[in-house]
Structure formats: C-alpha cells, structure tokens
Symmetry: C2
Subunit: 330 residues, 2 copies
C-alpha cells in the first residue's frame, strides 16, 4: 500500500455518512455512538488464502462479506445492527481501483443492513487481512442457551449453498475465476444457470457475497438461536452442548436446494455433506416451541431431546448418530 493509497483510503473513509443525532463518526480518536439499549458486540476476521482466494473473490465481494459475517453474529443474538469498524492490512501492490472496490463493497453492505462505518485502521501487510467489528443493540438478547426437550429445531432457509459455491469456484479454470471476480450482481449472472439448468448464481452469491439472515420478524418467538456459519450440525451441536440436551434431525425435512444437488452431483460430492456440514451459510438455527413460526417462513427440521448427541433420522436407515463436523477455520 503506497502513500497515495493511504490518502485515498482516508478520504474514502472520511466520506462515509454518519447522522449527527447518533453521535460522532469517523475523524476523531474514536467514534461516539448513542444506543437506546445494551450494546451487542462481535468481531470476525478474514485472511487471504485462509478464508478467501483473490483469484475469484474481488475486493468488492470481500468488503460486502466482512460486513455480513459480523452482522450475522449480531442478528444471531437477536440484536439490531448499528455500526461497523474495519481494520485492514493490504499489500503494497493493491491498486487504487481495488481499494475503491473494497470500500464500495462495505458501503453496499452497510446500506443493505442499515448501519454506519464508525472507524477502523489501515496498515500494509503481505497478505490481505480484513478484520471487522460490529456493534448492535438489544434489550432482549436471544442466546444459545434456552433450548429444552420437545422444542422444535428450525432453520431459516436452505443450507450448503456457500460450500457448494466454494467447491464450484475452486474447480473453475483461471479464466472463469477471473470472470466471476468481475461480477457485482449475481442475480444477473446467468452463465452457469444456463449450462446447468439451475440457479448456480445463488451458490456463487452465497459464497462470495453472503447476506446475513435478519431475525426481526421471528426473534420474539425464539427460545434460543445461533447462526449457521460453521455448518448446520456443528452449530446445532454447540447449541445443544450449551443446553445439555440432544437433538433429532429428520433428514427428509431438510430442504435441498436444486443447485446444491446439481453441483454435488457434478463434482461428485455427497450433497448431504454440503448441506449438513458445509459452512458459511449465515442462516439462523432457531429453537422454538411456537408452531406459528413456520408461517413466517422458518423450516422445522427436528426437535430437541433429552440426553446428549445429535441424531439423524433417516426414513430407511433409522436413527444415525451424527458427527458434528464443520468448517473449523484451521
């Protein structure tokens, strides 16, 4: 990162809007944020070659994603997202254009989630380092703790999209990776949809520019909640351990996205591996005893039971103990 880029970054950051009635935005030693409820706080880190590959991830995608992964944790606590701080390490050879794209992606995400950039830090670095910190607020936090036997296990949507997208991207040619890197609006990127006859663009978007699932319509009905960022089974396992309970998941109730099925077939991967243990879906796993939560679009996939351990109920094979595997970041 050259001096000129530093100036550009400072200039871009200073232009992020901040409404005066909320406090003080970027430009002083620290920001000031007026909240009406207790603060909800989280931090998430993304490092080049560990969490992303610049062959197909653009700086625009990365800017959007670092906001989403942090907002997802605020949402998983039942919080309302308010602000974001962003420390970034960038190589010397980053271009002005890439730097602008990074902040465009952040800006796009902050507009989407209706929060504000509150500060950050910049440094040179050999590898790209994106460190995000989100602040929200709530006076009714929904914890991982709160699940009891006979409660129903819900998920907010399909899972496995991100890891199917990741596996698909990994196997593209260099030229195809370059092409994907240029895409900003995946809903309009129909190339692979036409080839495979299913919505591959949703898989790519789920991996490159995921959107965190907002719980404001159903969080009042939730007894416990966790985001599915590391994989459905491992995150369910964590929630169950916290509550000293087990869970039974009905395999035939788990929704299967047609593009996940298609790509799993194409790449010769067991689709249920993607769906149960693929990470980075940023959907929510919701525990509730209120049936009417299904009217809000949540999908019941099983129930909390006494004892410990996760069991998969297969209509043919019966009850199978599940290994809580998932994305381990290592």
């Amino acid at each position: 990162m050259k001096q000129s880029e530093l100036e550009i970054a400072r200039e871009i950051m200073s232009r992020f809007p901040f409404p005066e009635n909320l406090g003080i935005g970027i430009g002083d030693d620290a920001a000031l944020l007026r909240l009406k409820k207790p603060a909800v706080l989280t931090a998430d880190l993304m490092i080049e070659e560990v969490h992303f590959d610049l062959k197909y991830s653009s700086f625009y995608h990365l800017g959007f994603k670092i906001v989403s992964v942090n907002v997802s944790d605020i949402y998983a606590m039942g919080g309302d997202f308010r602000g974001f701080l962003f420390s970034v390490g960038l190589p010397q050879n980053i271009s002005d254009e890439e730097l602008r794209e990074l902040f465009d992606g952040i800006n796009e995400a902050l507009n989407y989630y209706e929060g504000y950039l509150l500060g950050g830090d910049l440094s040179k670095s050999e590898k790209v380092v994106l460190s995000g910190f989100a602040i929200g607020e709530t006076d009714k936090p929904v914890l991982r703790k709160g699940a009891e036997p006979d409660d129903i296990v819900f998920i907010t949507s399909y899972t496995g999209l991100s890891s199917a997208g990741f596996n698909f991207l990994k196997n593209l040619s260099q030229d195809e990776k370059k092409l994907v890197k240029t895409v900003k609006y995946f809903r309009d990127f129909k190339l692979y949809n036409d080839i495979f006859g299913v919505n591959i663009n949703e898989l790519l978007e789920s991996h490159l520019m995921p959107k965190a699932r907002k719980p404001d319509k159903f969080r009042h009905l939730a007894k416990a909640m966790i985001d599915i960022s590391d994989g459905l089974l491992i995150d369910l396992h964590r929630l169950c351990e916290e509550n000293e309970v087990g869970a039974e998941i009905y395999l035939q109730k788990i929704p299967i996205h047609p593009a996940v099925l298609k790509i799993a077939e194409y790449l010769n991967i067991e689709p249920m591996k993607l769906i149960l243990s693929g990470g980075e879906d940023y959907e929510l796993l919701v525990i509730s005893n209120q049936d009417d939560i299904t009217a809000l679009g949540l999908i019941p996939i099983g129930k909390i039971v006494k004892g410990r351990g996760i069991y998969l109920i297969d209509p043919l094979k019966g009850k199978i103990p599940a290994k809580p595997e998932g994305w381990q970041h290592f």
Copy 2:
C-alpha cells in the same frame, strides 16, 4: 496454529472473567454490554514486521500493547474504557507457551485498565496479526475540535521514549534482543540502566509495553484532546487543522527525558527528532485555557495561535516553521 492451539486459545478466552451485571461475556454469538452513557468505539491493528519485531517483542508484550493502543484512543476522547475484542492471526508454528503469553499480556492490560474481554476471532496466518477493538463510554466527549487562539497546549509527560526505545532495540545484538524478549517487568530490568547511568528500562517499556495515559483527573478542564500516538508535531498539526488554527511551541519548555538524550547521543540521532516526531508515546496532547491544569501534572509547552501552521520558538534561533512529520504506519 494447530488444532490443539485452537482449543487452548478457546479455553483461555472462555476463562476471562465477566461480571454478570454488565451483560454477557464470551461464549455466545456476540457479547452484550450494558453502558450508562454513549458508546466510544475504536479499532487499532498491529502486524508483524510492520508494527513489531518478534526478535525482541514477546507475545506477552504484544498482548499488553494491543490493548494499550486501543485504550489510548478511548482515553483521548475523554472516555472510560469498558471492554475489548481481539481478532488474531497466528502462524502454524506458534507454541502453546507463546499463545498463553499473548493472553497473559492481554489479561494483564485488561486488569490494569479495568476492562473486560468481550470476544474475538482466531485464524491461522503467515504473519502475526493483532486486531483490537475497544469500547468505552462517555457523555462528555473531548474532541480534537475545540481549540481556540490563546489556549494553552499541554502534554501529559515526556515524549520520544518509545522511539528512543525502538531505535535502541533495533541496534541490539541477536542475543540481547532475545534477552529483552524475556522481560515482563521492565522496572526490574536494570542491565542497561547500569551501563548508561539513566533509566533505559523506561524507554524499553514505553516501546514494548506502553501504558495509555488516563485523563480522568483533567479531562473536565480540556477544550480539545488527541493522543500522541503518531508523534507530537503531527498529532498537534492534526488537531490544529481540525480547528483551523496554528500553534507555537516553546522548545525550551518541552521536557527532555535523560534516557532519550543519552540514547540519542549514543545512536547519533538528533534528540528533538525523537521527542517531536517519534511516535507511539500514547501520552495526551491537551488544549486548555485553565492554568490550574498544571497542578495536575500537565506540562504547558506552547499556545494556540491565529492562522495556520506549527512554529517552534527557539530561544536562540527565534521562530522556526515545523514540519509535521511522524510515524505514518507505511
């Protein structure tokens, strides 16, 4: 970072204390923190080979320092420090002992500043990456803005110690660097004090384990404030630009630490370069029109004037325009 280290890190983090009446600490998707006043928020990043050198910086030093540099920004806003989040990227070859030292240093600093660890993220990384986020609170923020002509410019203590320490450390032999790396309590490390006849240990401590200057005794008397993290002149310049004013600094009023003088002589560096433009002092630059602030230990070094630019007043050479140079992180 191996799986076993990940387990150790998780275990250490889960053991950080958090008082229940303040909210919810580490262990859920996000933390919850009850504040009585508006939130003060800041982020600071430290990257290996850019901000520190593992030849003489131990993980204990780094843990302490990443807290201090963040707390310094909270203090510079006149805030009370409350909590810290910490994202870290660590190489595969880090030892269990180094990992424990890192968290010991963070714990030591959090005890010193009376704040709590609220969360964080862990990842492997080629180089060590330390990304800190601090949260505090205040209903009376002291901004960079607020200085007017005829106000007095104060500093809270000597400057130049950290950069003198840095220059001294750089020039040590490999064996000496290794020795310094083992030191936890610099007040007891008298080796170089005995050789040079001055308190070199203060320089080393200022660079390796700086302590942020707490403003609670004088912040009510401050019209404007900034921390001297990048260098006295450049930070004064930033504050003046924010207020569209200039400043005159009386060179003979600037306190000179005897060890800074000694090391500057020993290394053949102009001492005023360290004092005026050496970074990372984590002292405060305070603008006030209250003379009684000196009774609280603050040192008057000049005054705010109409017009723009920083001028150094030398008893012999008269008025010299100063170049606002300092540590640029690049």
